[in-house]
Amino acid sequence: MDRLLSNKWTIAAFVAPALLIFLGVVIVPLFITGYYSLFDYNGLSKMEFAGVENYKRLFTNDPLFLQSLKNMSILIFGSVFVQIPIAFLIANKLAKGVPGEKAFRTIYFIPVVIAATIIGKLFYYIFSADVGMVNALVRALGVPDFHFNWLTNPGTAFLCVAFAAIWQYIGYHMLILYAGIKSISTDYFEAAMIDGATGAKATWHVTVPLLAPVIKVCVVLAAVGSVKTYDIVVSMVGSGTHSGTQVPAILLWRNLFKGRLVGYGSAQAFFLVSVCLIMSYLINRMFKKSEENASMS
């Protein structure tokens, strides 16, 4: 068996099916998208070569796309610097042992298993001006005529959406970090305790460094997930751009499928894939040293 598995042809035979599927459903479509992005094409017309015009338009003549990049950045920032820290605090608390640990773990994870469209609708009923809980609460607190359009006011609409999107995946990262913390040997904490480090100090100097590889995974998932955000926005505020809630994935869909701008939409798609790849690379580079330190421990 060992001889068989060390044969390169055998390895190639085992890898080939998955590799072919990956090539067929990821790599080839990606190159086709890149190819289309160089043309002026509506899916029905004759393709006319446009060079990098579609890419130039992204940054010079499409304020909606620039707004969507701003929104995407808010989501990435919120996911990395709000969602993951909260998830870490919960995971750390649960991993140290609290009564009902398993129940809490399950409860925090529930939003993750609910479809984003349902979460979107739940938050719609929280922020809706007419039937929402927030306005109702303010009215109950003594402002009977209070009426604020949280979801359609350009100043608040995207913040409401971002709040819902960030909230939904706290449980997801909590579970990953919880598993990571649980896998850290208690020897480290005992040694830290002997050295006088307890509580927050031990968390900062022991848990966080040793958890670096896991935190890196969470950061990559959160950042890339923010770039792909689509469903929760559509279910809360629709795919319109009137209140400044557009994200790149929505514009991409509108351009490709509704607007028939196959060339321009493909440029957006290719740009987004590039953003995801570059972001993953940079995050990996940033965590390289921490990961090495963690693996030496």
Binding site: N42, G43, L44, S45, S128, A129, D130, H147, N149, L151, T152, N153, P154, G155, V237, G238, S239, G240, T241, H242, S243, R254, N255, F257, K258, G259, R260, L261, V262
Partner: protein
């Protein structure tokens, strides 16, 4: 040797299994699949696509009736329906026609710009080539304008629609408010209803029903710019920037919204919700297409049957729009894929559907038939009669912009109109956006 025998046996078994799977079952005895002369007619399978999702929708009922009758009259024809909701449908059609659209023979679609791209790509059947001159002559003058490309007929209109201001007379009387004839009276009525805690005009312009917001703008443009001038700008894709009427229409829409004419959150609700607001008597007015007429009587939420009157869009004094201008026209119709294997049969079916649906919409007061065939208007509801009378005095019309403009521009139009209903509406930015589109 044994292996070879085994292989041959396996091949024989596979051939047998495949032939068993693919062989067609002959029609049972007595099934009339012949052409009337004892010669078996070719079996024809047709894929028909449409958007009439609601089973109680009169268009859905008529479509299914025509399909059933057609299959009864032509036993060799089998028609399979495929139904999708409006937005998904538009996406599906574009995706299909980017390829061969081999699964589509006949489909309901919109003329002018929307069908234009498919026609220009050479993927739409020139239906005129498959219709007798008598049939083509039976189409009302002008009804096929949005279905002709290069002078040739590529689709069949069914019926015209018209924008109507439906008013709950009971609410007007109870609150001592006069039915509006001019813009100022309309705005005044809205303010009074808002003060009385009643939603003045039910409008679900949010979520993905932005066309409702666009309706308000188009109504005001119709009255300020005038239907013919408006049509010229859209036809030529020029002349928007120098026309102050487009600016005034945007300003009036913002003014109405500021007066809570469309409730306090028109961008938060969709079309269905706004319909319910009107049907349940919570809202006093509803600005929408004449297809709404029957629903006033048949919708399960409706408590307003018999209490509704139909008004034209209020006039804007000093505007170029005449009181015989209207928003609407012939835009929905049936089209045939150029790649269909059975163009004669499918074109014939498209004709039957168009005539039947046009006639039925006319007879129930939802629309006005595209054909010079007699109709029976005895079954019209009182509201249907009112709408019909209103339509009879209209002269110049312009269809909804989102059905006229190509897809990407239609989206920009809808987004811009929705933005006029949002907080911090900016007419300057709105006009700038349109100037980019048109000029």
């Amino acid at each position: 040797m044994r292996n070879k025998l085994l292989a041959i046996l396996l091949v024989v078994m596979m051939v047998f299994m495949f032939s068993a799977c693919t062989s067609s079952t002959p029609p049972p005895a007595g099934d009339n699949g012949d052409d009337g002369n004892g010669v078996e007619a070719e079996q024809v399978s047709i894929n028909l696509w449409h958007i009439y999702v609601d089973e109680t929708d009169e268009n859905r009922v008529t479509t299914e009736k025509v399909i059933a009758e057609y299959m009864d009259a032509h036993p060799n024809v089998k028609i399979e329906q495929h139904i999708l909701q409006d937005a998904d449908y538009k996406t599906k059609m574009l995706t299909e026609f980017s390829g061969s659209a081999s699964n589509i023979d006949i489909f309901s679609y919109w003329g002018a710009g929307r069908a234009g791209d498919i026609v220009n790509a050479g993927k739409m059947l020139c239906i005129e080539d498959y219709l007798s001159p008598d049939k083509v002559a039976a189409i009302k003058h002008g009804a096929d304008n949005n279905f002709r490309y290069g002078g040739k007929l590529y689709g069949l209109p069914m019926a015209s629609w018209m924008m109507v201001l439906y008013c709950n007379v009971e609410l007007f009387e109870d609150n001592n408010i006069a039915l509006p004839e001019t813009y100022d009276e309309w705005l005044d009525a809205c303010k009074k209803f808002d003060a009385a805690g009643i939603i003045p005009v039910a409008l679900g312009g949010g979520v993905d029903d932005g066309w409702q917001a666009a309706f308000v703008y188009e109504a005001l443009v119709n009255r300020i710019v005038g239907a013919l001038n408006e049509a010229k700008v859209l036809d030529d894709m020029a002349g928007f920037a120098g026309n102050d009427g487009f600016v005034e229409a945007a300003e009036k829409m913002v003014e109405m919204n500021a007066a809570n004419a469309f409730g306090k959150s028109p961008l938060e609700i969709d079309e269905v919700t706004s319909n319910v607001q009107f049907f349940s008597g919570v809202a006093a007015m509803r600005l929408t297409g004449s297809w709404f007429t029957t629903n006033v009587y048949t919708d399960e939420d409706s408590v307003v049957a018999g209490k509704v009157t139909a008004l034209p869009i209020p006039i804007v004094p000093g505007g170029n729009g005449k009181d015989t201008d209207y928003v609407g026209g012939f835009i929905d119709g049936w089209f045939v894929n150029a790649a269909t294997q059975h163009p004669e049969v499918v074109a014939d079916l498209a004709w039957e559907l168009s005539v039947a649906m046009g006639t039925h919409q006319h007879e129930i007061g939802e629309g006005f038939t595209a054909f010079n065939y007699p109709t029976d208007e005895s079954g019209l509801t009182p509201l249907g009669k009112e709408v019909s009378a209103l339509a009879n005095r209209m002269v110049d019309g312009m269809v909804a912009w989102d059905t006229f403009l190509p897809g990407d521009l239609a989206d920009i139009h809808i987004d811009a109109c929705q933005a006029l209903l949002a907080a911090r509406a900016n007419v300057g930015a709105f006009i700038e956006e349109y100037t980019k589109i048109f000029d």
